[in-house]
């Protein structure tokens, strides 16, 4: 199992009081944690890459728990999540897909069995590339008030032989959510969708 080499860890915590409308009684909080790791497959086509998913598991767990900590430490307040990756120029998009399992399962484990699929995005990009990480409700993907996204990125990453890995969590709906759809209070919680 090759060691995952981490160059940098980056955390962003947002506290949103309003977006032009009435001030929220409880501000929405959103946080993203980003790790910059060396891409062991950079510069060549490697057929067998999937073992790296296991190598990334401890990092996924570390990132997911540090996200919960940065939002106050109580996993019960987390209502939305998402994940994403930017692969540096000497890698391929498929390397970003290695993050689905360790990133997603780490958040579910830390949150105690969240049911919905973890929304995700990925791309190949250069240092400074920005990624809009999609966010949905942790237990029911169709909850419209929780569709959101958080932009992340770092001026000096990913370098060509690196991958930027991102996880995002939120404590609630968009701050002035009012476009209908399934409400969080109506979740059945059986299939992860509704």
């Amino acid at each position: 199992m090759p060691e995952v080499q981490i160059r940098k860890k980056f955390t962003v915590i947002e506290e949103i009081f309003h977006d032009g409308g009435p001030r929220a009684s409880i501000p929405l909080r959103r946080a993203a944690v980003v790790a910059i790791v060396r891409n062991p497959f950079a510069g060549a086509y490697v057929l067998e890459i999937s073992a790296f998913m296991d190598d990334l598991k401890p990092l996924g767990l570390e990132m997911a728990s540090s996200l919960v900590a940065s939002l106050g430490g109580d996993p019960k307040v987390i209502e939305g999540y998402g994940k994403g990756a930017i692969v540096g120029a000497a890698g391929e998009l498929e390397h970003g897909a290695l993050w689905h399992v360790p990133g997603g399962y780490a958040m579910r484990e830390i949150l105690g069995g969240a049911k919905a699929i973890v929304a995700s995005t990925k791309k190949v990009g250069s240092p400074g590339a920005r990624l809009d990480v999609p966010i949905t409700h942790i237990n029911a993907s169709y909850v419209r008030s929780h569709f959101d996204a958080m932009e992340v990125g770092l001026a000096d990453a990913p370098r060509a032989d690196e991958i930027l890995l991102a996880l995002v969590m939120t404590t609630g709906s968009r701050v002035h959510a009012r476009v209908g759809g399934l409400k969080a209070s109506e979740i059945k919680g059986e299939d992860g969708l509704r």
Binding site: Q5, T11, E15, S70
Partner: protein
């Protein structure tokens, strides 16, 4: 007059390795940023004292947030910097009113010391504008290992009538600093320079 805050954002960056060399303990830095309404947007106002008062308030709030984010005693902070970005309906002088007259005193009170000038930058810009916060040692501006900068940006700020105000602090100088100059163990700390 207190600031009308739409959003507070905290950034934490931790560098664990550079050029394959381990950085142990990691260099860590944090920036706290407020997105506030500009009370003088869209008009020329001679007396900017409201913004000076806001500067004092944010000096305390943002320094506290940044110190909390780093999770170390305030007295262990080694370098600092400040910056502001004014939305398109404001003037650069609005950034100056926030940053220069009154913001520094509460920063120094929280950090316990701070003989050196707080390095600063300012600009006018649109949503997502990148703000490069200059960093310098808090007690002696000539400490070369601590000359640095931290980029922050918020994709939805500043709107035309807003100002983005940032304070950054660190636990150390650059990773792998090696270009000579005054070292931190040589600081006299009398004049803020050496």
């Amino acid at each position: 007059m207190s600031a009308s805050i739409r959003k507070l954002v905290t950034f934490i960056e931790e560098t664990r390795s550079e050029m394959g060399r381990s950085i142990d303990p990691p260099t860590r830095r944090a920036a706290a940023v407020a997105v506030i309404e500009n009370p003088y947007a869209g008009k020329y106002v001679e007396d900017l004292s409201e913004l000076m008062a806001i500067g004092e308030e944010l000096g305390e709030l943002l320094t506290q947030r940044a110190v909390t984010a780093l999770g170390i005693p305030a007295t262990s902070i080694e370098s600092y910097g400040k910056a502001a970005a004014v939305g398109e309906n404001g003037e650069i002088e609005h950034a100056a009113a926030i940053l220069h007259p009154k913001l520094g005193a509460p920063v120094r009170k929280i950090l316990g010391k701070g003989a050196a000038l707080i390095p600063s930058s300012k600009k006018r810009g649109g949503l997502g504008v990148a703000l490069d916060i200059p960093l310098g040692h808090k007690d002696a501006a000539f400490v070369r290992s601590h000359f640095d900068g931290m980029e922050v940006r918020i994709n939805d700020a500043p709107r035309a009538n807003e100002i983005l105000v940032a304070i950054a602090i660190t636990n150390s100088g650059r990773p792998l600093a090696r270009v000579g100059g005054l070292r931190k163990d040589e600081i006299k700390g009398e004049d803020g320079l050496r």
